[in-house]
Subunit: 144 residues, 2 copies
């Protein structure tokens, strides 16, 4: 199989596949014309990588997961640990984004969004840290 074939079959761009070879995630053979020659196994690996990446695993995670995948003596605990760590990172990210979301939603709500220049959003962004968005979360002046 040429790179175009595995690209179609795996759903990964050819560029990405070349990149994955570059960083040692796959290692296709070479035809006499210099073209990469992928085996079934390479295709499987690439599909594995694509799925893992789509679940947000880092390339480094992918490397570990692939190693475990190919090691039939592995302990499932090792796999689970990677997943749970990743899950923790995702939860943290969701947490951060939700906080941003809440603040931004408050700000957007407070802004008239018309032709006038008065804008609580800009006022908040310009406020010193003590004040910033605190007056929208609790409006009685107590420190947050």
């Amino acid at each position: 199989m040429n790179i175009g074939d595995v690209a179609r079959l795996s759903g990964l761009p050819a560029k990405t596949i070349r990149y994955y070879e570059d960083i040692g995630l796959v290692d296709p053979l070479r035809s006499s014309n210099g073209y990469r020659a992928f085996r079934e196994n390479d295709l499987h690996k690439l599909a594995f990588l694509g799925r893992a990446r789509s679940l947000g695993f880092t390339i480094d995670d992918c490397r570990s997961l692939m190693r475990l995948y190919e090691d039939h003596e592995r302990a499932s605990a090792d796999v689970k640990r990677i997943v749970l760590e990743h899950l923790g990172r995702i939860d943290q990210k969701i947490e951060e984004l939700s906080e941003m979301r809440a603040t931004l939603a408050h700000l957007a709500e407070a802004c008239a969004g018309d032709h006038r220049p008065d804008c609580p959003i800009l006022a908040d962004l310009a406020a010193d840290p003590e004040t910033a968005s605190g007056h929208l979360k609790n409006d009685d002046g107590r420190p947050t």
Copy 2:
């Protein structure tokens, strides 16, 4: 004020402040010794930038927001539009992460996480797209 002072006051690393000058977000004066000389206004700008960045705005957004901040003829609608667009991107990101989270949580739950090599996580990652994690979402074999 030297860069160390504004770094302390704004909470931004000196490196970041230099970078912001590099990309044209601030434009401090220079003392005769070549040191950057920040005015009050520069400090305000940097604090503004720090707050906007902490809310997840891109540097490009920050540029637009700063322009609007400094334009006293602005329409608050322009500010609100930027915020709402950003809010949309955040919601999308949260959505994506939540989907990942759900899939990963299912997988982790299904995995014994012990010394044995059997691992539904690896099985899922290796499965072809038709099957992948679908069998965990609906276990009757219907296509998802």
